[in-house]
Amino acid sequence: MALIGQDIIPPDLVAKVTGRAKFAEDFRADGMVFAKLLLSPMPHARVRSVDASRALAMPGVLGILRAEDLPEGRGLAPERALTDEPMYVGEPVLAVAAVDETTAAEAIEAIEVDFEPLPFAIDPLDSLRPGGPNARLEGNVPRLAEDEEGRNRMTVQELKWTEADFASLDEGKLPMGEHTDEWTHGELDPAFSAADLVLEDTMVHQSLTHHPMEPRSSMAYWDNGKLHIYASTQSTQRTHGAIAGQLGLDPSDVVFVGQYCGGGFGSKIAGAPIYVVTALLSQKVGRPVMLRITRYEENYIGRGRPGFQAWTKMGFRSDGKMTAIDLYIVQDHGPYGRSGDHLTAAGVADLMYQPDAMRFRGLTVYTNTPPRSAQRAPGGAQIVAMLEPIVDKAARELGIDRLEIRKLNAPDHDAEFGANRGRLTSAFVREAFDIGAERFDWDGRKTRSGERNGTKVTGVGIGLSPFVGGSSGFDGLLVLRPDGVLHIHQGIGNLGTHSMADTGRAAADVLGLEWDRCAIIWGDSSQHLPRSSVQAGSQTTHAHTRANHAAGMDMKQKLQEIAAIDLGGSPASYDVGGGRVFASSSPGRGMSFARAAERAIELGGKYSGQELPEDLHGDTVPSATALAGQGLMGVARDNYSHEGATWSFVVGFAEVELDVETGDVRIVDYLASTDCGTVVHPRSLGAQLHGGAIQGFGQARSQKWVFDPTWGVPFAHRLYTARPPGILDVPLQMDWVAVEEPDPQTPVGAKGIGEPPVGAGSAAVTSAIADALGGKCLCRIPLTTDVILAELAGRAQPHRPLEIHS
């Protein structure tokens, strides 16, 4: 393998560092005008009337877009780009187009909207109280119910707990009334009976905004009935289809461009609901429309990670083996949809500790807070940071090394987990613990635990963070041009992870081609992209090394066949390398790739893409067809076997210094150790491991949401009030190390690694802080200075038990 495992310069780098890269808001079109949004000032309201007459009469104002101009929303997630029943402060109500942004802003101010306030809920527990408010008119929880035709469907219903359920709240214990989600494996009671130590904790984890650097801006225009739209997204190919779907258009009538993406973290998986605004407003005013989403607006519409109010009971044998977990999660979900963070969290807990028995119960509660979506390790990042300090507590009480208790319970290749007792493709978790512990000098460091230096006390922590790392079954599409350059068509987007370049190397390696002979084609639906993953759930590296490997193998086969046709012998007697296909026995006999590409065009049929494999996805066929005849085509569906679930693992090791007089915490060292299969791109892997950890540091220490409960209005809607971490909150040096054991269920051996680094960073820090506090788990995330200092000074905690958004 020549390229996989090497550092490369990705093809977008120069444009990025020189500022030439065009992000969504950098595009321009002739006659382009600007849009601005009017946001709801209330957490839940009904628009009684809108008087835009004064705004529309202003010079330079071109038009207004209302909810009624949009396609209907459906089912559980009736969220639309604009609404007449806003369900959170900041939800867009209407948009105005004007010749410039100043005029558009003035027009928004000239609009009179008559809002009727409706009941609202900010804290899920408030909504669950008898007589508590519902975030939605229909109810406060999503749950399965039979519809008129007897089908089980998710619907919004009202669920209230009893006063008796809430009795435990005063003691700081999560009330646990009726739930909507439950699964169990094993026998819970015997498993707890077998335990020598049972720990019970109530925990709170805040919600967090995604905060991608690039907000969800977009520009759109119509040309001869075709929509051209420029927007920031994760998966280009899937966003193209999603936008067409939202607008009821045929995908061939939509050109979608999204070449650079300033971060998504799960919030831009298939675009964003707001993107239809520019498309429809442009149609209405007959001009190209640009909507630049501001940081303030991004904080509202930019999605967030669901917060948890949770309770757990965990049983341990005296040797540290975990016997049972009983877990209850109330998931705060904003007003729309239903992400499975709480379900994933339960699966992650089961996977990482492998208890003999586990019960999960929980429910999702709607609140009038910004909508949630997947955020980098959804569910996983929350639960590992919540549970790891409790495992530390068990280790302390049982007198076991904290590394050993984790290794003892860690999953191996035969692990089963979750409700369905799923299996893994591979799990080199103990190896990750071992190499990480060695590099971090765990044995040396742990002796420093609790060491005092003036007012500073040292804490060391470990956090294991598993997360899904790969899907399969997508298509690879390659064209070897007559100039000898391999065009690798990538439907995945340019999320900053370099995966759109890195995964292409699987094809290049199969063909033995130098990287400078490869061109990555990405970011523009008119460039004929193959069916791709949604580029979420850390699928990409796994899925698209496979798809490109498959396409590469197809191309290699075709090269061998062309050589055999022209030069005689069997295809199998030819090999590829150095930009040539040549006879294995006599390397001088062969032809260049350039010549082979010419020959493919001449030969036609499958060689030039005139004939396509039958199992290609319907989305790939038009792209391949459009490229037919341009060279030698390698195109294939990923049909490699894929038994079991692909999961990656990161172990975070952190050392912190906690000031006992101020509650201030500094992370002084951090190491990430990972099992992510074969390392595809070391430098990029390091960036993922450390970048994710930094996000985790913010999650553990500073970043949160704050709402005024009386008005339902948020305050953490600026970067400085939301407090994501800055570079000074990060240790000067951070290290990483990888197990580098290939996953046996994928040809390249690589697993996705985008997500688990967050939980590892967060959990290592919550674990280290608990260690510095002498093993005390405060069980609230983030562990801000006030929370820590209140504990140290023996004063009342600043937050009521289970208080959220405070």
Binding site: P41, P117, D708, T710, W711, V713
Partner: protein, 295 residues
Amino acid sequence: MEILRTAANPWGENILLGVAWWLIWAALLAGVAFVVVHAVYVGATGGKKGMTPGPAGAAPVPDKVERHSRSSRTYHWLMAASMLTLLVTAFFPLVGIQFAWVTIHWIAGVALTLLVLWHIYDSFFRQDWRAVWIGGRELGEMKTAVGRFFSRDKVPHPRMAKYHNDQRMFHHAASITGIGVIITGLLMMFRIDTWFWASNPYFLSDSTWGLVFVLHGLCGVGLITLVIAHIYFAIRPEKRWMTRSMIKGWITREEYLTYYDPDKWLLEGEAKPVAAPSGSGGTDAQGDPEAVAPA
């Protein structure tokens, strides 16, 4: 010019904040204008000339007639002090003279409240509240007075009860505005931290608070004008005897018979028989509060 100050609440709904502060200047101007107009009018017309002592009633009239008991006087001056404190602490900061006024203001407000409560008790249970009331008789008199003001014949003013009708009118105006500021002020106590509780501005709804603030502002501003007029009369030369009575408690027998109708202000108790008025002066020297007949 708006009379009310408004703002958008956090939900963008329009709420009342209070009265516009230009009303302070308007009230000040109204007070000053009243003083000037009255002073000019009195200067030009010579005021209520030709009042001479009238016949005494059935009851004997002592040399000194008690007009204000010691407790009434104490009440009056304490109330005056708290009222002036309230006005200064309320309005000086608004016109640019900055100091820490809130604590002084609410303490003075509490003092005023207690004084007014005592006064209400006192007037209903210990004194005759009808002494300041505007009833049918007073309305009739006021009607006549208005007619007299516009008539060419300068008929002498009739003599009055213990409290003249203009005093009764002032008392009514001061009572209404005073009770207005007191009730609204007490509610506003919920919005500040005191020694007894921490502020809770959510005690009332936005719109109710708006009303409270507007009433407090209107009454407070109204008191500026009333206080100016009150002080003006207190220092006018021809009214000084009345001011003196608020300090020392009594008026002379002559003043009693000159300005008051003994039928309307009945003196009670044993006293020496009413003598003929002995001209001006002469009574002060005998001033002995002990000898004063109770009113």
